[in-house]
Amino acid sequence: MYAGQVTVPMILRTPMGGKRGYGPTHSQSLEKHLLGVPGTRVLALNNRYDPALVYQTLIRDIDRPTLVIENKTLYGDKASAEAVEGYEWFHSGHQFPISYMHTDRPADLMILCLGGMLPEVEKAVEKLFMEFDIVAEVLCPLQMYPLQIEAILPLVQQSGKVLVVEEGHGFCGFASEVLAELFELDPGLQIRRLYSAPQHIPSCKPLELEVLPNMSRIVEACITLESGR
């Protein structure tokens, strides 16, 4: 509308996510409502890439409205690059990098996830290897929108199987978009997604944990994906 003459260098930080027993009004995953607006950016912090670096970059180079979603469960964690044993974390050279938990053995599948789901995914990777002989690698993009799909695709193609895990609802969600774009680029991929149950978040914590994706469900989904069912 203004021929690129106007920029809005605004950062909007917001907490999100469940597992705290806060009930339906404070545990939502709201990011899908704000994804895909041209000229904006959406970031999801995770505990394997220093958030201080994210904000340092943002404050220095901000050029558009940027939403940063911060999973509440990560507030109590200290960010570190500690990987599951036998793996190592790498970060791409993007301004807001994709983090890649890599091992030097051929992987059976790739798990792609965001922010607060990463600790659950790491636990699942551990269990998949120890109990089920399945080697899974992990991609955790920091930037949700614009999606760095061209960078993600070759890593997913290594095994040809990808599971996308998100804490929010599945309908028109981030996982749907990622899988749709991946499948358009490579119809030979085997794809699967995991998301929360299609209902509001219960206040009762045990029920809340049942509704949200967890380690057991991730393991189950990976086994299904690996077996080709």
Binding site: A81, S92, D104, D133
Partner: protein, 473 residues
């Protein structure tokens, strides 16, 4: 120091976890130009040259003859000279010849601390396209899955058998016990080991020699060769058959053949490839209670001029003309002599030919290679002094799981008959008789004494095809 460029090795095959730094051509601390040949490394498949990735001062992380994890950097190129103390900080305190990787590069994160990476300042396009660069840095922690641990205990196998592997699964242990699994050609059901006698009892003890001896470590290439032969011996019940072929000079006849120009190996490969379609059990490998019949005929040709045995493979030999095989074998020989054979040119063989005729060997019993069912040995022509009549021997070692002596004998006699045709060309050959020859096998009608063979004009390939080649034999 921020402009350092670490030197990583190109991975030329999936089997090697470590390679040997054979020779360093440049001293540590020397100035090098980009593209300078700086080192030679040895993998199980080939010796590779390493070139300087950029201009600068080169510092090595490993001594010569050190075994290096393939994911480690072997050195670094810096924009300027640095002191010994700076290097110590860069490479850590490990001895330079230790089998240990360098510390993680600057761009990689380190365990237990905040990532040391600084994001680059360039912003990808709006679509954020482009392949990310994930610098690989070091060997990873080794772990064994629960099933793998159970198998190790059950078969009393030491973890040292898996050095260089990070995540070891049950399939890795089973591969060690039974060899790597191969896709079956005729039967797609999963193959499970059933025969306990095939199982390696684990690492054996080493006898102490009773006389003084010097222990010399075997090269990677030799160890790879041993691994293949041991696997072949373990998986087969070898038996051997030989036939004696009378000759007036096969090599001499072939030297007069314009297609092969004396290349005996090419002719034998060409003829054996067609016969393997007739005798499929010789182009197969054994698995407990089943055989895997290969759908392709990939003939390996053993080469050894003293620098180490290598088997170069002519893939789909049965589909190629004699001229094509001659050209390919010549190319492979040049590659072997130049140490430039690619892994794809030395893997995937389904049958092997070992030719010791050039060394004057009368007959021998070659060893079957891993995941194969037979190997053909070619002996030298023997002539009495002053005599035109001579003989040579064809030997076939085959797996008695898959075939019997009769099959092997029929194969050899067929091969013998075919090779004799090449001599007859020379003996009967007038210009006119040689006019119409098969573009695949190079033989004319006169070469087939039984009269049942005929020539058919062909468009693709252009020329004439004999009815034998047309039928696929």
């Amino acid at each position: 120091m921020n402009e350092e460029t670490r030197i990583f090795l190109e991975r030329d095959n999936v089997n090697d976890e470590v390679v040997i730094l054979v020779q360093r051509f440049v001293n540590s601390g020397a100035m090098v130009e980009a593209g300078t040949l700086i080192a030679e490394v040895e993998t199980s498949k080939a010796n590779l040259d390493v070139y300087a990735p950029r201009s600068g001062y080169l510092y090595w992380a490993f001594e010569e003859r050190a075994e290096i994890p393939v994911s480690a950097s072997i050195g670094v190129v810096l924009p300027g000279p640095v002191s010994e103390s700076s290097l110590a900080g860069m490479f850590g305190d490990a001895p330079a010849d230790a089998i240990a990787p360098l510390p993680a590069p600057i761009a990689a994160s380190t365990g237990g601390e905040l990532p040391t990476i600084r994001p680059s300042n360039h912003e990808p396009a709006e679509s954020n396209s482009g392949t990310p660069e994930f610098p690989f840095s070091k060997a990873l922690v080794q772990r064994f899955s629960r099933t793998a641990q159970e198998l190790l205990r059950k078969h009393n196998i030491g973890v040292d058998r898996f050095s260089g592997l990070s995540l070891v699964r049950a399939s890795d242990v089973l591969n060690l016990l039974h060899g790597p699994s191969i896709e079956p050609a005729a039967n797609t059901q999963e193959i499970q080991p059933k025969n306990e006698r095939d199982i390696d009892a684990g690492p054996g003890f080493r006898r102490i020699p009773t006389v003084p001896a010097k222990e010399v470590p075997l090269s990677r290439r030799k160890r790879s060769e041993i691994q293949s032969l041991e696997a072949g011996v373990r998986n087969t019940v070898p038996s051997a058959v030989s036939v004696t072929c009378l000759t007036h000079g096969l090599r001499t006849a072939l030297e007069a053949n314009p297609i092969v120009a004396g290349n005996l190996g090419a002719v034998v490969t060409f003829e054996a490839a067609r016969l393997l379609r007739k005798y499929p059990t010789l182009n197969a490998t054994y698995r407990p209670d089943s055989m895997l019949l290969y759908k392709r005929v990939n003939i390996g040709y053993a080469m050894d001029d003293g620098r180490g045995l290598k088997v170069s493979v002519i893939h789909d030999s049965d589909l190629k003309s004699l001229a094509e095989i001659t050209a390919e074998l010549r190319e492979l020989t040049i590659g072997y002599l130049g140490d430039k054979l690619m892994p794809a040119q030395t893997t995937g063989g389904t049958f092997t030919i070992s030719d010791l005729s050039g060394l004057g060997v009368a007959s021998f019993q070659p060893l079957i290679s891993e995941d194969q069912g037979a190997i053909l040995g070619l002996g030298a022509e023997q002539f009495l002094p002053g005599s035109r009549d001579g003989l040579y021997t064809l030997s076939l070692t085959f797996d008695h799981h898959l075939a019997e002596g009769r099959t092997a004998a029929l194969f050899l006699n067929d091969l013998k008959e075919r090779l004799m045709h090449y001599e007859r060309v020379l003996e009967s050959g007038t210009e006119a008789e040689l006019d119409v020859v098969c573009v695949r096998c190079g033989r004319g009608v006169k070469d087939f004494p039984d009269g049942n063979v005929f020539m058919i004009q062909s468009v693709i390939p252009a020329g004439h095809l004999c009815s034998l080649c047309l039928a696929g034999f």
